[in-house]
């Protein structure tokens, strides 16, 4: 497989990898680096790639594992990633998010979830994946994925309704 073939294979899900990485790592730069790293890993596997029935599922699994490792090593060295991406968000997207300030606290609520729930919300509600796919990426069974998804959605609902009723976000 040459470089062009490889790029055309990864193109359809490259953004999906990036969004998952960003959901977990929060910072755009870190997500970019992570995506890059995972792509290099995939490229080095070059010859074996054709054996896998879904390169996309594998890419997502590697991305997930890589990001979780990153988070683990950051935590081990007592560095907490607190990143708000004040300036580097895509201009259009940032504009629209600022237009509706409420959207940014929805983002915050999702980012405050535990990692596993974050991944599930990202895969299901944003990327619209089937439970089967999510289950294989997370190495869990489908029922467990459903339960965790429902739990995550309820946490989000609770925070949203609280904010809605009080008229302001508490944090």
């Amino acid at each position: 497989m040459n470089q062009n073939e490889f790029v055309s294979i990864i193109q359809p899900f490259k953004d999906k990898m990036f969004r998952l990485a960003k959901r977990l790592l929060v910072s755009t730069e870190e997500a970019e680096d992570a995506t890059q790293e995972v792509l290099v890993k995939l490229w080095n596997k070059n010859q074996e790639l054709k054996q896998f029935n879904s390169i996309e599922a594998m890419a997502m699994t590697i991305t997930k594992n890589y990001c979780l490792d990153q988070l683990k090593s950051k935590r081990a060295s007592n560095l907490k990633i607190v990143h708000n991406n004040y300036t580097d968000r895509e201009a259009g997207l940032q504009q629209r998010i600022e237009d509706q300030d409420t959207l940014s606290w929805v983002e915050k609520i999702i980012n405050d979830l535990p990692e596993q729930q974050k991944i599930i919300i990202q895969m299901r509600d944003i990327e619209n994946c089937e439970f089967e796919e999510i289950a294989s990426i997370l190495e869990m069974n489908e029922t467990a994925v459903r339960v965790a998804l429902s739990r995550a959605r309820k946490i989000i609902r609770e925070k949203i309704t609280n904010t809605h009723h009080y008229g302001l976000a508490k944090n």
Binding site: K22, E32, L93, Q100, V106, S150, I160, H164
Partner: protein, 146 residues
């Protein structure tokens, strides 16, 4: 679509039992203008979920096209270089050091004599040639008559 039906879907959604199609229905409902007041609170959530999918990776993916075998070639090259250098060095070292030895002192003495005689005869042979220098001295004296 009437909002009671949407509300039912929302309940299903939070139980985690909606299908992808039903979730699509919800997202479409919340992306249009007239959302029922009772459901307005969920609008930001569904708008965010749709919006978040639009974010794309910054387009700078540059693949380092490193093929693993190239690394091995360089490692092998360095290895061969070191190996050949050491063998050459070892060969040279053994050439100059291994002169042989004699066990019997008399033979050793005889051999030493032989070697010294060889040396002496060569030195004498050299001296013979040096004697010609005297010829220059002689002719110089003839010419300058001092």
């Amino acid at each position: 679509m009437d909002w009671q039906k949407i509300e039912q879907l929302i309940d299903k959604y939070f139980e985690g039992t909606t299908s992808l199609e039903e979730e699509m229905v919800l997202k479409n409902y919340f992306s249009q203008e007239n959302v029922a007041d009772e459901l307005k609170q969920f609008q930001p959530l569904f708008s965010y979920l749709q919006l978040a999918k639009e974010e794309t990776a910054p387009n700078k993916t540059v693949l380092k096209s490193k093929k693993p075998f190239k690394k091995w070639i360089s490692i092998a090259a360095v290895f061969i270089l070191i190996a050949s250098l050491t063998t050459i060095w070892n060969l040279k070292a053994t050439d100059s050091q291994d002169l042989g030895t004699f066990d019997d002192p008399e033979i050793a003495y005889a051999e030493t004599l032989k070697a010294l005689e060889l040396l002496a005869s060569n030195v004498n042979y050299g001296m013979e040639s040096v004697n010609y220098i005297n010829e220059y001295e002689y002719s110089k004296n003839l010419i300058f008559k001092n």
